[in-house]
């Protein structure tokens, strides 16, 4: 059994940032990676995906984008190259192609069994990603056998799909992006829409992520929010890494996508949708307008700034006069259902009593409820930006400091 002070599980942005922060503190560690660097980005994302954050925002500790397109959005192979190049700069001690089979705690040490040997460490950082598994609602069991079901983890491009209609459940970043390209491939898409967050890609000449950064929204701490459970479950912004000013339900309706309410039940060959579509659209419009108003106030309060483009309003979401409440898969010739209903981390190998009754890992800003155990990269782990590449550095810095001080205490 090999021994090390700290094991980091996962060599994505969180694991690499943690490695850098541990190296800076002289803490000996190893990064275990099931595949190769940025594995989830490389193997579990669709072909057309680009980051939702602009290139300049992919800041990591001691590293930033200095290429020709600071306002562009990286595609997946660019993300992987970016992370590979970062790992070389920080000289991260990565052991790749090493799948973790189990983690247990014995005699005050974490025993990490992998496909390439067993490791022991006093401290452990879980950086294996927030999106390893698709969250699929229980209705999936009731979908007729003849219909192919897919998660976004398996979806690559429309060519994988049978011709015929496609029901996409979920209208956050994943759902709207897939809806557009699948509709454009000539398959009629029905998009089931629950609560979602509508924002323009750019406003008054700046990227929305730039505004969120400037307004301090991305730096809001987990203990500053009223309802932490709620914000940790919020869906992703309805965005794509493209230059369209607004990519929303209206633009999807314009390309022929049919918008329905939240999927409420499956009854035989029928999908039943909630009658709440008007309200979820209204909630999203109101929320977007509040954000835009706070941007306008910020511009006013900082007169003489570089922002010269005047405020504008966006057309409210157009809700169909009578959204379909019940569709028959046969009538619509629907052959595929894609569950764009969110993701969750995979801790099936973590045999420790650190989960709440909903299966979420119990942690306080990244400090897990077990000695020397830390987690990174989860939604709103410490800040709103915790799931962004841009958020990995701060969180890793905090975790590394806490970890270092716990090692000093143990040694004293």
């Amino acid at each position: 059994m090999k021994s090390v002070t700290t094991i980091i599980i996962g060599a994505g942005q969180a694991g690499l940032a943690a490695s850098k922060q541990l190296s800076d503190r002289g803490i000996d560690h190893i990064v275990l990676e099931r595949g190769s660097i940025g594995n989830s980005w490389k193997t579990e994302r669709w072909d057309s995906l680009r980051l939702l954050t602009p290139n300049w925002q992919s800041r990591l500790p001691g590293y930033f984008y200095d290429g020709p397109e600071p306002d562009g959005y990286m595609n997946m192979s660019e993300v992987v190259s970016y992370l590979e190049s970062y790992s070389r700069v920080i000289d991260a001690p990565i052991q790749d192609n090493t799948n973790v089979i189990s983690v247990e705690r014995r005699f005050e040490r974490y025993i990490v069994k992998t496909t390439r040997g067993t490791w022991a460490s006093s401290t452990l950082v879980l950086a294996n990603g927030a999106c390893s598994l698709a969250s699929i609602p229980k209705f999936a069991d009731a979908v007729p056998q003849s219909i192919r079901q897919m998660s976004p983890l398996e979806y690559k491009n429309p060519d994988q799909l049978e011709s015929g209609g496609v029901l996409i459940v979920g209208a956050s970043a994943t759902g709207v992006q897939l809806a557009r390209e699948i509709q454009q491939s000539g398959r009629q898409v029905t998009l089931s829409v629950g609560e979602h967050i509508r924002v323009p890609r750019t406003y008054r000449g700046k990227d929305i992520k730039w505004w969120m950064d400037v307004l301090g929204l991305l730096d809001i701490m987990y203990h500053e929010v009223e309802d932490l459970n709620r914000v940790r479950k919020l869906s992703s912004l309805q965005l794509a890494g493209t230059q369209d000013c607004m990519f929303d339900l209206n633009s999807l309706s314009d390309c022929g996508v049919e918008i329905t309410g939240r999927l409420a039940a499956m009854r035989g060959e029928h999908a039943i949708f909630s009658g709440s579509l008007a309200n979820v659209c209204s909630l999203a419009d109101l929320k977007m307008n509040r954000l835009l108003e706070s941007i306008d106030q910020c511009v006013e309060a900082n007169a003489g700034t570089e922002v010269t483009i005047p405020p504008r309003t966006f057309e409210p979401t157009r809700v169909p006069e009578a959204p379909a409440l019940n569709i028959d898969f046969g009538d619509r010739k629907i052959k595929t259902v894609i569950w764009a209903t969110g993701f969750k981390p995979d801790y099936s190998w973590l045999h420790l009593p650190v989960f709440d009754r909903k299966g979420n890992i119990r942690h306080e800003g990244g400090i897990v409820d077990a000695p020397g155990l830390y987690v990174l990269g989860l939604p709103f782990l410490r800040k709103r930006k915790s799931t962004l590449i841009d958020g990995a550095g701060d969180d890793a810095g905090f975790v590394a400091s806490h970890l270092a001080s716990s090692l000093r205490k143990a040694a004293a």
Partner: protein
């Protein structure tokens, strides 16, 4: 004016938000206490007239009494050759939706420090009688569409008032019951 400035700390809509937030925190910690059962009991009077009594319920881990009993009469109007002894059941459904949304608006407004002066909700449900009469099997029995129109006078901007109404729908039990399917089991003893 910002949202913060518009909040009146003295807003009093008669909703005890502190108690509600306390209950929320308590029930989050003890999910079993959050399991409630609501009950009604209906007796047939005559014709299409029936009377429902509503008393105790189950919640917080035990049977609860409310110290009084309410009665609700339901019937059909004379146009249906009935005795007109009460509102129709479908109107009671609209009334349930309106009351639920209105209570929600009051609670959310209190929580957001918004003083309400008046709320009126006017509801209308479209129904094609060919459904319940069995004339056309393609027509459903229930409402095709329900429209809710709120008139709200409050010390807040139009956007903030719209946000109250949206949030109220998001948290409304009856809105959920009406917009989503529910399994119903009926047996005969």
């Amino acid at each position: 004016m910002t949202n913060v400035e518009m909040k009146s700390p003295q807003a009093d809509n008669g909703v005890n938000v502190e108690a509600l937030l306390g209950a929320r925190a308590a029930l989050e910690a003890t999910p079993e206490a959050a399991q409630f059962k609501w009950r009604t009991k209906t007796s047939w009077i005559n014709g299409t007239h029936s009377q429902t009594t509503i008393g105790g319920f189950f919640g917080l881990g035990e049977e609860q009494e409310r110290g009084k009993e309410f009665t609700v009469d339901a019937d059909h109007p004379e146009q249906f050759a009935a005795a007109n002894m009460g509102a129709t059941p479908v109107e009671l459904v609209l009334s349930g939706l309106a009351s639920c949304l209105t209570a929600g608006v009051a609670s959310v407004a209190q929580n957001r420090g918004i003083q309400l002066n008046s709320i009126t909700a006017t509801l209308e449900g479209d129904m094609d009688l060919q459904g319940i009469l069995g004339v056309d099997s393609d027509v459903r029995n229930g409402f095709e569409t329900i429209r809710v129109s709120f008139q709200i006078d409050a010390d807040a901007s139009e956007e903030d008032i719209k946000a109250l109404v949206a949030q109220s729908q998001k948290r409304s039990a009856v809105f959920d019951i009406i917009t989503n399917p529910t399994n119903v089991f009926v047996d005969v003893n």
